[in-house]
């Protein structure tokens, strides 16, 4: 990566990056790329987030589902760890709590495949500056 030289270059880079992310979302021919974020701070990992992460990546591969799986920091819902956030193309992100392997399986089968929510949705409870 060449160094970012000035603020304008930085803004261009941001625009490119957001455009790329947007393209990923729009580019839906057969299978929509889904974004799955898994909270993986120390506390999330302690409550089993790594197992959930491994299970989801393996399950998606096995079931031939196209999705981008990334790790992220603490979502703040300690009472419901492990937590994951799923964004289906064209929809608002939805956070699910207490996602162990059974729950992850249910979410993949119902929400990812059919857009059908399952118990344990965590409502967004904050505003942010952007």
């Amino acid at each position: 990566m060449p160094k970012v030289k000035n603020p304008d270059e930085l803004k261009n880079l941001r625009n490119q990056l957001t455009a790329r992310a947007g393209k990923k979302q729009d580019d839906k021919k057969h299978k929509d790329p889904v974004v799955i974020k898994i909270a993986m701070a120390t506390c999330s990992i302690a409550s089993g987030a790594r197992d959930t992460f491994n299970f989801i990546t393996a399950a998606l591969k096995k079931r031939n589902i196209d999705a981008i799986v990334t790790r992220t920091g603490c979502m703040g819902y300690c009472y419901a760890e492990p937590t994951i956030e799923i964004t289906l193309p064209g929809t608002e992100p939805v956070v699910f709590g207490q996602v162990d392997q059974t729950k992850a399986d249910e979410i993949i089968e119902k929400y990812l495949k059919k857009g059908e929510l399952v118990d344990g949705v965590i409502p967004k409870n904050y505003e942010s500056p952007w």
Binding site: M1, V4, P7, A21, T42, T91, E127
Partner: protein, 597 residues
Amino acid sequence: MTVKKKHILVCNGTSCQNVAHDEIFNNLKKELQNHGLEESAGLVRTACFGLCEKGPVIEIFPDKVFYVQVKPEDAKEIVEEHIIRGKPVKRLLYNEPETISGKESGEKARFKRKQIRIALRNCGVIDPENIEEYISRYGYEALGRVLDEMTPSDTIRIIKDSGLRGRGGAGFPTGLKWELARNNQNDQKYVVCNADEGDPGAFMDRSILEGDPHSVIEAMAICGYCIGAGKGLVYIRAEYPLAIERLKIAINQAKEFGFLGRNILDSDFHFDIEIRYGAGAFVCGEETALIHSMEGGRGEPTLKPPFPAQSGYLGKPTNVNNVETFANVPVIILKGAKWFSSIGTEKSKGTKVFALAGKINNVGLIEVPMGITLREVIFEIGGGIRNGKKFKAVQTGGPSGGCLTGKHLDLPIDYETLVAAGSMMGSGGMIVMDEDDCMVDFAKFFLDFTVEESCGKCTPCRIGNKRLNELLDKICKGNGAMEDIERLYNLSIVIKDTALCGLGQSSPNPVLATLNHFRNEYEAHIIDKKCPAGVCKALMTYEIVEENCVGCTACARACPVGAITGERKEVHRIDPRLCIKCGACLEKCKFNAVIVN
């Protein structure tokens, strides 16, 4: 396969559960079935919405329509009007009081959330190990703007105007701190990030470093530019391996992209960051002790002045800020001082992150605007007290803080009000206690901590806290005398007045706060030899009620020390000399025959 177009989300938080949750859920289910909608509309239970006072809450997804104070008989109308006809049920809509006007568009009826995430804006949103995700959320643009368009004094002016104060606990104005460091001329200066999060129960700094390390790096560079420092140091405890790993990755990526190093973004500003590890001593969160520890010396505080801004790391002017303070800085630069200062109270601007823990339903990391009341935090965001117990007190500020009680519930939270109420903001640990917690035992817990963590340099803290701890122990064991209350009080005042550093001076706070608010509990321990909450083991006795005991032997089999004797089908007895008060018999007895006095 039919795709479910709409979902009805029914809040399953504890508070809503208590108000006819099942009935509402079942009625909705029945209504959906009656109209043959099981295939096209979903019905699920969710976690708490954080709006318990207006519960039960229902959301129609994806319409973003919220219904509050829903009753079981409303199910028919919700299904027929909203799900079938697509028309919101106006009378149940959630409206913020001030937004009730002629319009009731979706936006007006919007759910006004209690939390505002500024410091935590990227936590749980971006991949912390990928700098591109940070950049796509305006990352490093504040640094770019500062280097390109602003002088150091302009930047300091913005931070000053924003009203940002130190989030580590004491609340010193950040802009002023930067200005002091800037005004001290020297060939080398340092920016230090205090990531030595030591308060029991506080984990906001770890979460920020694990979830959004770049925001801290960016802010440190901005601070370096403002005060004229070329070097930044992050002092972090080695107990945070994941935070360290992610911080290292972030520093390397920032160097690769040219946000750290020489001639950052084509300016003539050079800045680099190194990590220094702490061994996890509480006192090293105090800035002078922290600096000594970084220099390789003992982690002991020294008298101020000289302040670190005059003579800090290696004798050079040094600016020390806490992780959360730094995390706020880039947003302030980008969104402006006016925006930031519009949030909060007159003297405390912006938001504060709290680690909400203890006997509360929604344990979690929250970021709320200053001025929010404890009631909103505990009973709405926190979802109330666990198991429907009664709220007793909330502890803020860790071992340096005090406790706030029922009468403080409607107090707006900011630096000044908390201090006036005998507690302090601290780094943001918030531990909620219910009726089962003993306040004398609570004070002792924190004194145990302080005694363990005292660096030993000054006598009041080293010896005074030990004596406080012994007095509390004596009271908890039922050996206290009324004079001990006076002794505790006097000694606390002496320690407060004479200890060397801020930690020593604040260490008697848990004792003073509990003495002020819960003197009756101290007296119960001393005069009646009773622990009202049933926590202090030495003051409890387990007994078997003869009338209730059927002689099932369950308790005798559960007792780990063989203190319970009795033949089958005959009344059992507990030998108080052998009993260790573990409570195993109480748990096992199905006949309410075991009681605790």
